[in-house]
């Protein structure tokens, strides 16, 4: 169990930097088709921001509630990714052939664009949830001792 880190500069900087990090993660995720980045990196940045929030404010803080809620979404990202592939099957194409996504009013290229975006969101959700989940798995063991110094 990680408790709140008792240092004013760390707490203040955490309050300012964690939302900025999450914003940057979303930017990397949604602009992955134009610049470097994409689903994997965006998901890791978002997951790391939640991990830092736990390391600074502790397991029980209200700002760590997002991380604890996210923990229940294990497998959701995989479901999104595979679900997009399944929608392509329903639309009459091959698995993960985004051109077969049955969205009216879009040509093939726009459908592929949409498919890539949805699949990236799936990857990002999966990676972020897994990062937070592994972090929780590793840190619950230390609760019985006085070595809860996960905040270096």
């Amino acid at each position: 169990m990680i408790h709140v880190y008792d240092s004013v500069p760390v707490l203040t900087l955490g309050r300012v930097l964690i939302p900025l990090t999450q914003l940057f993660g979303l930017y990397v995720l949604f602009f992955g088709q134009y610049g470097p980045g994409g689903g994997f990196v965006g998901g890791v940045i978002f997951g790391t921001s939640m991990i830092v929030s736990i390391l600074i404010f502790g397991h029980d803080a209200s700002s760590s509630r997002l991380a604890r809620t996210v923990l229940h979404g294990d497998g959701l990202g995989l479901l999104i990714f595979a679900g997009v592939g399944g929608l392509c099957l329903i639309g009459g194409g091959e698995f993960l052939n985004y051109a077969a996504l049955d969205v009216p009013g879009l040509d093939d290229a726009a459908r592929r664009y949409l498919g890539i975006l949805l699949a990236q969101i799936g990857v990002a959700v999966d990676v972020a949830v897994t990062a937070v989940s592994i972090m929780f798995s590793l840190s619950v063991e230390t609760e019985d001792e006085d070595v809860h110094a996960g905040t270096p």
């Binding site: 088709q33 994409g38 890791v44 990062a131 929780f136 110094a149």
Partner: protein, 176 residues
């Protein structure tokens, strides 16, 4: 091609890698490994692989360091020190020989950015020419990962999911 940037970077890479394996304190080893990842990310960015550099900086230097530290604080006492064996003579002789052999083999690799190398002749031109037209995605890396090779990425996502599940099943215990 100038070497003013390459050589200090490679020296720093070697120093941090050697430091991470030689240092006696496990926490210092973790931080040296993190800085090694940062220098490696710089090397990737310098070679033009910006996506790889991004992943290396975020995962190698950020996430992996945190997970290593958490593992360390969960398993070992705070000042865990390692007693290392002295160097063994077969390793001292054999490993430089292996290095020379690898350098000899590396001279056969194609030149960096060679347009007629096998890697840039098979399907790469197709990806580069058709990515923008087919899916309006200027970043070819994303379009290869997410559309042309989407099945690979799906299975990689399954691997990440499985790792999370395995950690949860092995490490999380119900509180008694």
């Amino acid at each position: 091609m100038t070497f003013s940037f390459e050589i200090p970077l490679l020296l720093l890479l070697i120093i941090t890698a050697a430091g991470a394996t030689l240092v006696k304190d496990l926490v210092s080893a973790v931080f040296l490994l993190g800085s090694y990842s940062f220098f490696l990310a710089l090397a990737w960015a310098w070679l033009g692989a910006v996506d790889v550099a991004f992943v290396e900086a975020v995962v190698g230097a950020g996430l992996a360091t945190v997970l290593f530290l958490l593992t360390l604080f969960g398993t070992a006492p705070r000042d865990a020190r390692i007693d290392r064996e002295p160097f063994s003579w077969p390793a001292l002789i054999g490993l430089p020989l292996l290095g020379v052999l690898l350098l000899y083999a590396a001279s056969d690799l194609p030149e960096f950015g060679d347009p007629v190398s096998p890697a840039s002749q098979h399907v790469s031109p197709f990806y580069l020419e058709n990515s923008l037209r087919d899916m309006r995605t200027p970043n070819v890396v994303t379009s290869v990962l997410m559309d042309y090779r989407a099945f690979d990425t799906l299975i990689e996502t399954v691997v990440i999911f499985t790792s999370g599940m395995a950690c949860a099943l092995l490490l999380r215990r119900r509180r008694t």
